[in-house]
């Protein structure tokens, strides 16, 4: 008995430790972040941004970008979940970090936040091109002679970006506000062949990107609304990358400063919208916002509760799926109005909107009159959300021979002839067997 109790105690302990460790794992899961800086002073000049990250549970480790001990991958495992590159001028990363490892980090699902500046070095430009974003050359800046701040030091590069130029996606840029955004840095353009690049913040029509101290001798890299100030990317594996052309954008000075366009009569705002935007962007890029997952998927014929081995064509079927969203670290039911279900055999045969029904999304529909192997597919790809994909395979068979119509009006002559023959046989057999012939009896 003693031994049994002991082992049970041990078992309990084991379970306890397992729960503890799994909880710890959960807590650390969105934590480890490597921050690469040009110099450690940036930690002080951008302290509000870093503090907000630390307050939200990120485990930040600050390194200078040329630190020889840097490494992102060890024994095939990523050492960090997220990467912040606040080192615009870096010419060569230290340790075994280079553009290739950062790209494979993104390919492996890691999230990256990059801030550049007019002193942008080659590695960041290369990283940008890998992600479909072309940075302008070193020493260039986004210039806007019509929308610059009153405190601009003289080159009209301290730009006031209107919040109207933000991407219309609250999961990425936060709730709309009217506070303008201060920006000073290098411009980008999106690769037109890359459909995944998101124009998070664009310049105004009058902005352009060029060397501020040289006359324009060739067509500028970015002009007008094509000038990207902040760009983002959600890769097909849901890894997220945000490029900001300006490191100052995240600085304490820009977070706290007042902003007013230099054109006479423009409104003065006591604070820029930088802090809110930076916070929303960091929540998005580090997967605190806009993350969806699929829960239980059920499907069955209407009126039943379990799915059959195979559906028959033209069955009335009910499909339901649970979709959840990450909100402040916990999963809550997602509230979407445009979730579509497809019933697919190579091509979709049916595509219909799912309706929210309690915690589930469900729909009833009639299966097509085509048999084969089908999939119930929910492929929800919306701006700012992770790509949600769920597919459930079912087979649909044709009618059994007993399930067809027994009596077709056109075939009534056949039925009638058969039944008259059968009736005739019956009557004839009675008459034949039991007739009394009169002559004989006479």
């Amino acid at each position: 008995i003693m031994a049994q109790t002991k082992s049970r105690l041990l078992g309990n302990n084991c379970i306890f430790f397992l729960t503890i460790s799994s909880m710890m794992h959960m807590a650390l899961a969105d934590g480890k972040t490597l921050v690469l800086l040009d110099n450690l002073n940036i930690r002080d000049t951008h302290s509000i941004f870093f503090r907000s990250l630390a307050d939200r549970g990120f485990d930040l480790s600050f390194k200078t970008a040329d630190d020889p001990s840097l490494s992102l991958i060890k024994y095939g495992q990523f050492l960090y979940d997220h990467l912040i590159i606040f080192s615009p001028s870096v010419e060569d990363f230290g340790g075994n970090i280079n553009v290739e490892t950062i790209t494979s980090f993104i390919d492996g699902g890691g999230n990256v936040l990059v801030a550049a500046g007019s002193d942008i070095g080659d590695p960041l430009r290369e990283l940008g091109s890998e992600c479909g974003i072309e940075f302008d050359e070193e020493k260039t800046a986004v210039i806007d002679h019509h929308h610059y701040d009153v405190s601009d030091p003289g080159e009209h590069t301290l730009i006031v970006a209107d919040p109207e130029n933000l991407l219309k996606a609250p999961t990425i840029v936060g709730n709309p506000s009217d506070k303008p955004i201060l920006f000073k840095g290098v411009g980008m353009v999106a690769d037109p062949d890359n459909p995944l690049v998101l124009d998070i913040l664009t310049g105004s029509s009058t902005s352009y990107s060029y060397f501020p101290d040289r006359p324009i001798s060739q067509y500028p890299h970015a002009v007008g609304k094509n000038t990207l100030l902040i760009a983002g990317l959600q890769a097909r594996n849901n890894a997220r990358v945000v490029f900001s052309g300006s490191l100052y954008f995240f600085s304490d000075a820009f977070f706290n400063s007042a902003v007013q366009k230099a054109t006479p009569g423009s409104q003065r705002y006591a604070q820029t919208g930088n802090m809110e935007l930076a916070e929303a962007l960091s929540q998005w890029v580090f997967k605190e916002a806009g993350v969806l997952r699929v829960g239980a998927v059920t499907h069955h014929p209407v009126g039943e509760s379990t799915p059959p081995a195979a559906y028959t064509i033209t069955d009335l079927v009910e499909y339901s799926v649970v979709i959840e969203k990450l909100s402040k670290g916990s999963w809550v039911p997602f509230d979407g109005k445009d979730i579509q279900l497809e019933f697919v055999r190579i091509d979709p045969f049916v595509r219909t909107y799912l309706k929210k029904n309690g915690d589930k999304y469900s729909v009833q529909f009639k299966l097509p009159d085509v048999y084969g192997v089908f999939q119930f597919k929910v492929d929800y790809n919306r701006l700012g959300y992770t790509h949600l994909y769920s597919s459930t395979q079912v087979s649909v068979r044709p009618l059994q021979h007993t399930q067809y119509d027994r009596f077709i009006p056109s075939a009534f002559p056949y039925y009638a002839s058969v039944f008259s023959m059968m009736g005739g046989l019956f009557v004839f057999s009675i008459v034949f067997l039991h007739m009394k012939e009169k002559e004989k009896s006479d």
């Binding site: 029509s205 007008g224 706290n256 595509r351 701006l383 009638a416 059968m422």
Partner: protein, 662 residues
């Protein structure tokens, strides 16, 4: 790189040029390193004050707040504190029962900073403090005990303290401990031998990390750096020896201490306040901040350049004099002004730069601040902008035929009006635009940085921007070849709004002028390619499955007719039988015959059920049951019939017997 260029210049040029270049380059290089890029602006001081004035509950916070504030505002300390603040502070200090060196230190220091709040202590507490000054206590303990003693006006043996400190430093060899030792030394008598401790300043300075030549800081963080600056200057003042810090180092220290504008804790804010106080009032190095009031811009409407000369805390330096050593145009390198003094008015230095009639552009000012030997970074390079206003003149718009450029109609448009009517250009025509940009003040032709022509399709939101370039006479000619440029417009014909955008950093009035509406017609219009990114995140169109149409059936009249026809033989049979006199008079209600006919009917009925409901195996099962019963019943019935019909016929004896046996 910079050094290399430097030497090449020296060896290439002749002697005089060489010296000139050398001076220029050193000035330029020096300027980069020599100007503090961070200081506490008035709003920063306000925020620092706000952080330190937050209510406190413990003694350490009270110390940080009160002493920190007193450092920031030496003169106005009593008016600074509100009554409530003062009262809580003093009550807190007096309410505590002191047996620890730390709380004694906090209370003594804080009470010294506030008037009328004296702490009286007993002899035992004094002994506690004196006992703390020994080699066995940590440097922090020694510092706190010594400070408390000196604040309370109690005597202490300076030489012993020095000995204890030297012994402790040898054990605790870290930046914070040594900085604390330096701070302790400032509380000691000037007669004590402070030389050994003074040397530590130089040793610590050697431990500072240089970050890119701009920042100089300890890796222990901002607080350590700030406290070191405070201690170094307070001790140097105390011992009256110049601190062993070079000018560059001072500026780099200033940059790293004041670059952080948002302080994490009260103690960090306190250390920054102390460093600011030490750097703005010491006897050796006072860094100067020269900044323009508003943007560094002069123009015809605002010809006067306003400069403010302050210390780190943005307090104006009244004793300073300001002199322009030289003002040089950045583009042409020609010197416009040299050795011109600024005049002081209401604490602001003023210079009418437009008096020397500079052309618009940037000017590099070298400004010297004199009047005090303590000033550090008193050679300042400033970039001053001379801005002007632009006017667009001679704006001509025309549509030119490619084949024959004669007979085109040119229309003149005046800023800021829009051309009447719209211009239409098809693929055989060019749209042309000529204009001139002149300085509105002097009439000189200008070539601003940004001279863009923007076509905006209001229907699709598409915008196409071209750069207008000036010819050799500074006349801007913009020509749009409709056929050649169709790819840039995605071959979308339609009305485009034409804007002229003129802007330059030296222009006060950037121009965004809606000049005209232009209708562009492209020859082979392609359907606009659906851009994938726009549809990638949109819901897809609904698909309803189209069910197969049921096959068309022949009319039921035909089948009904034939049904009737098929049924007619049966009726005929019945009629004929009736006529012939068919009957079933021989039917006897014997069980076998009833059973046989019922069984027969059931078999026929089973055939129907087989057709509608059953499968073959079920049918066979039922058929076997019904069939065998019917067979037996039929056999008996036939036997009975045979007996009845043939009476005692001998040929059938056997048959009868066998049936009977059954």
């Amino acid at each position: 790189m910079i050094l290399k260029c430097y030497f090449i210049v020296i060896y290439l040029g002749n002697n005089t040029l060489c010296v000139f270049c050398l001076v220029l380059l050193t000035a330029a290089l020096g300027a980069q390193a020599l100007t503090p890029s961070h200081h506490l602006s008035l709003s920063d001081v306000e925020r620092l004050k706000g952080l330190l004035s937050q209510p406190f509950t413990d003694l350490a916070s009270a110390y940080y707040s009160i002493v920190g504030l007193s450092k920031l505002f030496t003169s106005i300390i009593t008016t600074m504190f509100t009554d409530v603040f003062y009262c809580t502070a003093c009550c807190l200090i007096k309410s505590l029962f002191f047996i620890f060196v730390d709380s004694l230190f906090f209370a003594a220091e804080a009470s010294q900073a506030i008037a009328d709040c004296e702490v009286s202590i007993s002899n035992e507490t004094r002994d506690i403090l004196l006992a703390a000054v020994s080699e066995d206590s940590t440097v922090t303990q020694i510092f706190r005990a010594v400070s408390a003693l000196s604040s309370l006006g109690l005597p202490l043996a300076s030489q012993e303290v020095v000995a204890a400190l030297v012994a402790r430093i040898a054990k605790e060899d870290n930046v914070l401990a040594i900085t604390t030792a330096l701070q302790t030394a400032t509380r000691l008598s000037q007669q004590a031998e402070l030389g050994g401790i003074l040397e530590e300043i130089e040793d610590l300075a050697a431990r500072l990390d240089d970050l890119g030549g701009v920042y100089l800081q300890f890796e222990e963080g901002l607080e350590a750096t700030a406290l070191f600056v405070t201690a170094a200057y307070t001790l140097s003042d105390h011992a009256d020896t110049e601190p062993p810090l070079k000018e560059d180092q001072v500026i780099q220290l200033v940059n790293s201490v004041f670059s952080k504008k948002s302080w994490d804790s009260r103690s960090e804010a306190f250390s920054v306040a102390c460093a600011a106080a030490a750097l703005s009032s010491n006897r050796f190095h006072v860094p100067v901040i020269v900044s323009t009031q508003g943007p560094a811009t002069v123009s015809h409407s605002q010809p006067i350049l306003h400069l403010v000369v302050t210390d780190i805390l943005s307090n104006p330096l009244a004793s300073a004099n300001l002199l322009v050593e030289s003002a040089q145009a950045v583009a042409s390198k020609s010197v416009v002004l040299s050795q011109a003094p600024f005049s002081l008015r209401d604490g602001i230095f003023e210079l009418n730069f437009m008096a020397s009639q500079p052309a618009s552009g940037y000017y590099q000012f070298t400004v010297a601040v004199t009047g005090d030997s303590r000033l550090v970074a008193n050679q300042v390079e400033l970039k001053v902008k001379v801005s002007t206003e632009v006017a667009v003149t001679n704006m001509d718009l025309s549509v030119v035929d490619k084949d024959q450029s004669i007979g085109t109609k040119t229309s003149r448009v005046d800023y800021p009006f829009k051309a009447k009517g719209s211009f239409t250009a098809d693929s055989h025509q060019n749209f042309a635009m000529n204009f001139q940009l002149v300085d509105a003040n002097t009439g000189v032709e200008l070539t601003p940085h940004q001279t863009f022509v923007r076509f905006h399709n209001q229907k699709t939101g598409q915008e196409v921007v071209f750069v207008a370039e000036p010819d050799s006479k500074n006349l801007y000619k913009f020509e749009l070849d409709t056929a050649e440029r169709k790819s840039e417009f995605d071959s979308m014909s339609g009305t485009y709004v034409l804007h002229l955008i003129v802007g330059d950093a030296t222009l006060e009035n950037p121009i965004l002028w809606n000049v005209a509406d232009v209708v562009l017609k492209f020859l082979d219009e392609e359907a606009p390619a659906a851009i994938q990114s726009k549809t990638l995140y949109m819901p897809k169109p609904d698909i309803q499955h189209l069910f197969r149409e049921p096959e068309k059936k022949p009319p039921t009249v035909v089948s009904n007719t034939f049904t009737a026809l098929v049924l007619s033989p049966f009726l005929l049979l019945l009629i004929l039988w009736f006529k012939l006199g068919a009957n079933i008079s021989n039917f006897s209600l014997s069980p076998s015959s009833v059973l046989f006919h019922v069984g027969h009917a059931c078999m026929l009925g089973l055939m129907y059920v087989y057709w509608t409901h059953l499968n073959m195996f079920q049918t066979l099962k039922y058929l076997a049951i019904i069939g065998s019963l019917t067979f037996l019943a039929g056999n008996r019935m036939l036997a009975q019939k045979a007996v009845k019909r043939y009476g005692q016929s001998s040929t059938l004896t056997f048959f009868t017997r066998s049936t009977c046996e059954n």
